[in-house]
Amino acid sequence: MTDIQVTSPVRDGVGASAPRPDGTLKVTGEFAYASDLWMDGMLHGATLRSPHPRARILSVDLTGALKLPGVEAVLTHEDVPGAKLYGVDHADQPVLAIDQVRYQGEPIAVVAADHPETARRACALIRVVYEVLEPLTDPRRAALDPSYEKVHAGGNVVRHQPIRVGSVFEADVVVTGEYEVGMQDQAFLGPESGLAVPAEDGGVDLYVATQWLHVDQDQIAPCLGLPPEKVRLTLAGVGGAFGAREDLSMQIHACLLALHTGKPVRIVYGREESFFGHVHRHPALMRYEHGATRDGRLVYVKGEIILDGGAYASSTPAVVGNAASLGVGPYSVPNISLDAYGVYTNNPPCGAMRGFGAVQACFGYESQLDRLAEACGLDPVEVRIRNAISEGSRIATGQIVDMPAPLTSMLEQVRDLPLPEGVSTDLRDLPGGVANSTHGEGIVRGVGYGIGIKNICYSEGFDDFSTARVRLEVIGEEAAVLVHTAAAEVGQGLVTLKAQIARTELGVPNVTIAPADTQVGSAGSSSASRQSYVTGGAVKTACEAVRERLLELAAKKLSHDGLALSGGKIVSVSGIVVASVAEVLGDDVIEETREYRHRATAPMDQLTGQGDAHTQFAFCVHRAVVDVDVELGLVKVVELAAVQDVGKILNPIALEGQIHGGTAQGLGLALMEEIQVAGGLIRNPSFTDYLIPTILDMPPMRLEILENPDPHAPYGLRGAGEPPTLSSTPAIVAAVRAATGKSLMRIPVRPEHITGT
């Protein structure tokens, strides 16, 4: 690596609000999503799913489906040539159900036909005889009652992670609470879609909307009985992810059908099917007990967090790890006894969603901090300041926070922002909005605060890396850069950012981003707020390697020592431009591939939870101001203010979008978003009945973005996408509590919780 300081005059480099290449296409409806994939002669796949959350399959009769004209294949588990089970962490999920079903919507058979409607009708002609069993839907019993029936033979506890620190569990002030978090959905707009194309070598090419191409490949190939190199994936247009595309949905099914028929097969889920086609956020049952001195300094925390993982493991183990390690929040707590459980039930499978285990815990510990403030007669901000960690502190796992953690100043900053003015008279600004619900009478204002801690990147010893291939050559007499990674653009703006980094590092304005595919090494998942860090780091590192070779080439061709790259030109020690990049390159092509790893992390001790499990921490603080109609139970969030430390701003407008979006998702969890599950059955699988915030529900935001660099991270950056999702929820609920005096132990808060009826 050279020690050249690149002062980048290049347009749209790191730090600029570079425009998104996909932005205009998306807002004009021209962007090609995975559901738009098309090939002449392709078949359409459909999936037969279980209507029951728990049943034995006594028989499956395909006769009617096979007879339907236009149907080319009807497959069951018997047609899966390789491994019958798959899973992102743990292979426990059947490709197609074998003898039993464990959740409503579990795939039993797949059909390929000449038209999507033919395929769906064929599904309806498959006769399945079930022996319906009583579903196991109680996560507490699944966690704690050994006599509860088992969803899987190995037992119902997917992971139990204790945290044990210290031994003093007595204090002058003790506050307790039992909290509940409903099942939130990622609610992405682009349903699960992909196109599988059989290849001449006996393999298959899959074009699919996903979050991590290589982990899909790792799961698909064994089930198809193929070596990984014969299962090639290319990212198709992704319409949002938020964790819901970490697990496979239609990938193996489409490949099976394509290999079976020898024809391309496309599968596109409908909206209702999508609710059964991906995992959701774990619902949580939490008990907390916080002990403190009379002046509000924490002595101990006892806690129990039960996360309902539903029928299959998905990423439950890692979600439990986060809930446990971050379970007391960004606070210094000398004594901790906390147990986090992830369990199997016959409820819908739950896995990754933005915030990943840290969201549920944050609602619990922040609610507790407010109770503690009240018990000690302290301001909610003050009680947080008295306990907040700072650089050098230890979190619950004993890990030292070796990066800036300016929580005290962040809390002061958000508290001191001016408050919005009094109650508006515009209907759109009042609880209930244009439904004329109120005219300002009976409105009570409340203010609340929330703060969260989120680990960035994969944790607990995971070998977390990304790969970037960067190619520099002359095209049309100009230097041009091609950046190739397998990282999934899921709407977060990574395609834009990779080009910004290449422009900054190489000073070349002309940067092309190659489509993400498995022809280059793994980039890891577009999850855990990690791609700017890890893939950004890989692109930066590969660019540095290219730059080094360019300068070697320049030294050789120009017979000149001490050259540097500055402003896209080759310059001498004295700063004189010696040549352009294109002149140095001529017909030569420089291509370098680099892997980038963040600092290694360690597993958590199985009995005490101790260990340096995380590589980076990120923090966001919210202040919520709400107006509540206490008679009608309606909440209008008037303003959300946030202070977030991102280490380094790479793209201001994209960053603000992340904070706005994360905050809105937290608002949804606080006030309306919940998959209603009754007896293991999803009752609201539509965007008419699963409510996400509209623009009328989401208030203007006031943002303060800090740049305290993390010395371990590229550019000093900190992952930014998840932290706002954590803290907006407890801030809003705290504000509603302040307005109503209600305890509000469950989210989402509904009108009846406020009217208390």
């Binding site: 244009v434 439904a435 619900s437 009478e441 006030l671 009754a678 409510l691 009328l696 529900d697 009846e752």
Partner: protein, 328 residues
């Protein structure tokens, strides 16, 4: 979705004749509800008869001093109409509070009256539902029913009627003009929608072939003082948890007359006749409004998880009437 035939009607009579002969055919208006239900497999008609070009789509003054609203008027046009806004603000507000702008621009007055329930078991063809499949059972009674009925339900069905517009029309005492096999007739509101009893599959009193051609609003001068208020789970594009449509005629602090209907609480737009009679001649005070609400809601039979609707309906009703009493 199953295959179906599509026919564009050329006139009302022939459309009625077609549907009278073909029980497997249904009328198509804006399609905002019907097409959804077809996609879900809840209904699977063999034939759609598009009546959007043959039913009247204008709003005009009626001979009786009220308004005659063509069944083909789009919800978006209804809520924007100056006559409606001026004389029957409750109706304009009710329509505006429903659905989204795009849906209101498609949905018709006739179709809105015939919306099917949003009960999740009705929408889910893998589950029993007496309204969808008579005799199959009602899982909502013991299952997910937070937003279902507290009034007028039966052992066979606890669904709610989803329309906001119909609540305002029930309060105003609208008259529905119907063209049927035996010619034109009128059906008063309330009276169009029927309580489930043991035939929950029949939402209305309409007979096969009946086509709603218009809705007539009676002359009701005091309806200039009317209001629709709706409680829902988000600020836009959500069905009512509880709603109230009310018009109030107050003189010298005394209620001379009133019209009240409740939405989101019953299988039909619920005209609150008991509350109305309790209020006529009573003092226009919050206490009296509360007493009237209590009388009406004494009939409520909440389910396990929707008891909150009783006091919520009371609060909304008292709030709306108090607002109207204070309005000048």
């Amino acid at each position: 979705m199953r295959p179906f035939a599509y026919e564009r009607a050329t006139d009302v009579r022939s459309a009625v004749a077609t549907l009278s002969e073909r029980p497997d055919a249904v009328y198509l208006g804006g399609g905002t509800n019907l097409v959804d239900l077809m996609r879900l497999g809840v209904v699977s008609p063999e034939m759609l008869v598009d009546v959007t070009r043959v039913v009247d789509a204008t709003i005009e003054e009626s001979a009786g001093g009220g308004l005659l609203i063509g069944a083909g008027v789009r919800n978006g046009d209804l809520t924007a109409d100056p006559l409606v806004r001026g004389r029957y603000p409750v109706l304009a507000q009710a329509v505006l509070s429903g659905a989204s702008g795009q849906i209101r621009n498609m949905a018709t007055v006739g179709g809105n009256l015939l919306q099917r329930t949003r009960c999740s078991y009705f929408q889910d063809t893998s589950k029993p539902c007496n309204k969808r499949r008579p005799g199959s059972g009602c899982p909502a009674r013991e299952g997910d029913h937070r937003n279902l009925a507290i009034l007028g339900h039966s052992s066979s069905c606890v669904a709610t009627h989803p329309s906001d517009m119909a609540v305002a029309l029930a309060a105003l005492g609208a008259v529905v003009h119907v063209e049927g096999r035996h010619g034109p007739r009128t059906v008063p509101m309330p009276g169009l929608h029927r309580l489930p009893g043991d035939e929950p599959d029949r939402d209305t009193v309409l007979e096969p072939g009946d086509l709603i051609t218009a809705v007539e609003l009676p002359e009701l001068p005091f309806a200039t003082r009317s209001r629709y208020r709706k409680v829902r789970d988000r600020a836009s594009f959500a069905f009512a948890v509880v709603s109230v449509a009310a018009a109030l005629d107050v003189a010298d602090g005394v209620v001379r007359d009133c019209r009240i209907a409740l939405g989101g609480v019953a299988p039909v737009p619920w005209r609150a006749e008991l509350a109305e009679s309790a209020l006529r001649g009573a003092a226009a005070t919050a206490a009296e409004f509360g007493r009237a609400a209590d009388i009406e809601l004494a009939q409520a039979r909440p389910l396990r998880d929707n008891g909150f609707k009783v006091p919520l309906a009371r609060n909304v009703l008292v709030g709306v009437l108090t607002d109207l009493a204070e309005a000048r």
